[in-house]
Amino acid sequence: MAMRQTPLTCSGHTRPVVDLAFSGITPYGYFLISACKDGKPMLRQGDTGDWIGTFLGHKGAVWGATLNKDATKAATAAADFTAKVWDAVSGDELMTLAHKHIVKTVDFTQDSNYLLTGGQDKLLRIYDLNKPEAEPKEISGHTSGIKKALWCSEDKQILSADDKTVRLWDHATMTEVKSLNFNMSVSSMEYIPEGEILVITYGRSIAFHSAVSLDPIKSFEAPATINSASLHPEKEFLVAGGEDFKLYKYDYNSGEELESYKGHFGPIHCVRFSPDGELYASGSEDGTLRLWQTVVGKTYGLWKCVLPEDSGELAKPKINFPETAEEELEEIASENSDSIYSSTPEVKA
């Protein structure tokens, strides 16, 4: 029986969603943070989209947001010329890092000891989070505003993108190692540590480069201008979204377009796969985030596969009780939630 994708819409933001990021997989599941022009980044449970909290404090549009690996800290980059570090469990603001212009991008190292920032002042800054009063290390070289900056190669190198270039820097020497030039504006960049792959979007192109050498691997053309793309953890699929409001899913190996979805009411600004690859999230000009299943019809998160003879029981009885605390916690959370079993969910896809 053919199943149609049911996207899950996460509402709450009142302005365009311009960035989103997932945490790693933690004992409490994984989490999702969204950056919004309304200045109020939100934290959500990654597999359900349930709102957990809103980080309050920025006085301008938030352009970038990220979580550390275990989702204990969040960082945000804003138009109020600051980057902020937050306690992602309590929602409290931990640090405000003053910059000289709009901050666009933030990234934690794997050990959460350092924060990389970049923005309109064209400088990369590295903050030691254990010494918040100390001045950050600065790397200059970009000739236009930095849109994205990421740690790579086990935090030994830095990748940064401005309007027309992508540059690779050595962390220890703070010098440029290599750079790529583009004719068109670079709209997004994603780094995949396993396999050292860099995903870059510009114009209608979705390009894959080695993160170590910056050498091109392959690229695909989409039917419309693409603003963001993400590669599946197992590198079977990629998803992309942009100016035509649609999401595209491609086979990474063949480049074949597998699925496409309408659903957003505005251009898509960001799209990312979850760390387990089971879903991908998209953020749009329409102020919403949507969660999409990688495998349509699979039971996961809030999506429930109903077999023909299934009467629609919400909780399949478990005969052997799970021993691990993680499973227990996750299952209590999902089974005790208010459940409105609906066979006609909101379907605009």
Partner: protein, 129 residues
Amino acid sequence: MMQTPLATPVPVLRLPRGPDGSNRGFAPDGRRAPLKPEVPEVLEPPESREFQEQQARASLRERYLRSLLAMVGRPVCFTLHEGVQVIAHFGATDLDVANFYVSQLQTPIGVQAEALLRCSDIISYTFKP
């Protein structure tokens, strides 16, 4: 690739919960409940008797709730006062487990299509999962 117009949409349990308009969230009793004693987020030392007892209670309660879920739709034999035994299909319980909603209740005076059994009237019950 066009999706067939006859394809049914994937059902969902519910929609994602949105923000609570009245506060910023991050509920203290929310998602990051304490894990096993090795990673405590509570103030008392993990080895304290109180903490272990709380863990045990939580674990037992969870098992009980799961046993209720396993009963749904199944025939259950209830032992009531005065040695009375009745069989019924279990439907649901309320929040405090004060009443059981059952159907096809076989009583000495006939079969009741739907009924509420007061838990205070039940001495014990058994069922096969």
